[in-house]
């Protein structure tokens, strides 16, 4: 049986767009999402001797994207804190969302109010369609934590959305 070694170029061709989409849901802007994904692939490229299985490589990339997105958000938060001292900023929806239906904008705005951990779990579960085990692996938390984060996130989301009706 022909067992292929991880081929970063093939993975890049096959999964880059999907990973950027996932990253956009986590960081909200396309430029940052592309950077996060590119960095994840560079990380994989450097570590390809250690990650031989394409499925494991995909898991590696997901984790790297989530971690990269967290770092990006942290950096952004620091910048915003400094900026707020000069000029208070409103947390507006990204421009790209103006093109979405009102219904979707409402939900996305509600998601943005959740704690980062809950947002990550909901994105990986409801957009990436990952199993609890895969989400746990990607986020570096236990399966129980995935369940509770998802449940709390959905409860909160439901309340927010009911409130806007």
């Amino acid at each position: 049986m022909d067992v292929a070694r991880v081929n970063v170029s093939a993975l890049y061709a096959a999964h880059r767009v999907r990973l950027v989409r996932m990253a956009v849901l986590l960081v909200d802007d396309l430029g940052s999402a592309e950077d996060v994904v590119q960095d994840a692939f560079i990380g994989l490229h450097r570590n390809q001797e250690k990650v031989r299985d394409p499925e494991a490589a995909l898991g590696y990339l997901r984790t790297a994207v989530v971690n990269g997105a967290r770092s990006m958000l942290r950096r952004r938060q620091t910048v915003r804190k400094h900026l707020r001292r000069v000029q208070p900023m409103a947390e507006a929806a990204p421009d790209s969302e103006l093109l979405l239906a009102e219904e979707h904008r409402e939900v996305l705005a509600a998601v943005r109010t959740l704690p980062p951990g809950q947002q990550e779990v909901l994105v990986l579960r409801y957009w990436s369609d990952l199993s609890e085990a895969d989400i746990a692996q990607a986020l570096g938390i236990s399966r129980g934590a995935v369940k509770s984060q998802a449940s709390r996130g959905m409860d909160k989301l439901e309340k927010i959305l009911e409130g806007t009706r």
């Binding site: 239906a101 219904e103 957009w127 449940s151």
Partner: protein, 394 residues
């Protein structure tokens, strides 16, 4: 957990994610040896750089202090010079409003205040109106596609998330919203219009309310009208599926008849081939015969506001893939019995799975549930990648 909230969340995430199209991304390259993550160059300083950094910082402080002293000297000498008392202040606008004298003086060297300019531009405009002819019709040209719209229409920039960088034009009748988009899909057919169907929740997807074949400039076009379940009529689309692929998209509600007429009268570039260079959708069946693999493929369709399930057999087409062709896929998103992790997903696996029909008894996903991106040139067709799975098939 409320099922409706889950559906709404899924649909919203899908709609936002599908705004990211391959054409919109920066040209990407797989990483090469020596590539450094974006933030890392700042973090990883060499030994010399680490030593040089404090010295550089100290030098900067010295330079800033010295520069500041020099500026202070200059400004002091300026104030001491009586000839500079008429020099305009750095912020003349406020003082001009409040001080008529100052305004009069400044008119010598500064642009006229707003009121004066407004009056003169009005008079120019009215004199132009008196002699001008009606504005000409707007003709949009996009690499071989030409559409003419009535006088008064203008071209504006397409929203960034839809432009696919360079391949989308947008025309407007009122200067605010795009009433007509024109795009070529031959760089990447997934840009804006061709994408993954999703399992629709209450607001999860648009639905197709009308499908018919139209003719534009002698070429076959697929016409679709869509209805968004939560917001009502959404839009209509004319799609030329042959190579080069052309898409016209019109949000319903205003100028419907004007746009329809303009699209019907559009000129198109000559057909280069009957198989699109790139296409996205679902392989419905693959059978192996002596001349190659016979593939029946159904295209998926997407709107600017999100993807829609493509019902019926509206976009089915068939073609033959040469036996020697290499399917480049790892099947990572499609679990086939007997598939070993890491194994290249070759054509025989596709054929085997296809033979199981719409309801495989071994519990695997039906063959037609795997979304693929097809690539072709004038000689061959290949599956570039498998994408999302769509439980239940299409």
């Amino acid at each position: 957990m409320n099922r409706r909230t889950e559906d709404r969340l899924r649909a919203a995430l899908q709609a936002k994610a599908s705004q990211v199209t391959p054409a919109e991304l920066r040209p990407g390259q797989p990483p090469q040896d020596g590539d450094v993550p974006a933030g890392e160059s700042r973090r990883r300083l060499t030994h010399h750089q680490r030593l040089a950094a404090p010295l550089l910082a100290a030098a900067t402080v010295v330079a800033v202090v010295a520069g500041g002293a020099a500026i202070a000297n200059i400004s002091t000498s300026h104030r001491a010079n009586p000839a500079d008392s008429t020099t305009p202040a750095p912020t003349p606008t406020d003082s001009a409003t409040n001080s008529p004298t100052a305004t009069a003086t400044r008119h010598q060297t500064h642009p006229a205040p707003n009121k004066t300019r407004a009056r003169s531009s009005t008079s120019v405009a009215s004199s132009t109106t008196a002699v001008s002819t009606p504005p000409p019709p707007l003709t949009l040209i996009l690499s071989g596609v030409s559409v003419t719209l009535p006088p008064g229409w203008t071209q504006i920039a397409a929203p960034p998330s839809l432009t696919g960088a360079t391949n989308t034009l947008c025309a407007t009748s009122d200067g605010t919203r795009c009433d007509l988009y024109i795009a070529r899909g031959d760089d990447d057919a997934s840009a804006m219009y061709i994408d993954s169907p999703v399992v629709g929740g209450p607001c999860g997807a648009n639905s197709l309310t009308d499908y018919s074949r139209r003719t534009i400039d002698g070429q076959v076009a697929e016409f679709r009208r869509f209805h968004a379940s939560c917001v009502g009529p959404a839009g209509e689309q004319w799609f030329v599926p042959t190579d080069p692929q052309i898409v016209f998209w019109h949000p319903l509600g205003a100028n419907d008849a004007v746009v329809e007429q303009a699209v019907a009268a559009a000129s198109l570039p000559a057909v280069l081939g009957h198989t699109p260079a790139r296409d996205r959708g679902y392989i419905q069946s693959i059978t192996q015969r002596s001349d190659g693999y016979h593939v029946t493929f159904r295209r998926a369709v997407e709107l600017p506001s999100g993807p829609i399930p493509e019902p019926g057999a509206a976009s089915v087409h068939s073609f033959v893939v040469p036996i020697k062709n290499n399917f480049q896929s790892t099947c990572s998103e499609w679990k086939i019995p007997g598939y070993v992790r890491g194994q290249v997903c070759n054509m025989s696996l596709w054929v085997t799975q296809s033979a199981k029909g719409a309801h495989p008894t071994d519990g695997t996903l039906p063959f037609s549930s795997v979304e693929v991106v097809l690539w072709s040139d004038s000689r061959s067709v290949a599956v570039l990648q498998t994408r999302d799975t769509f439980p239940g098939g299409v």
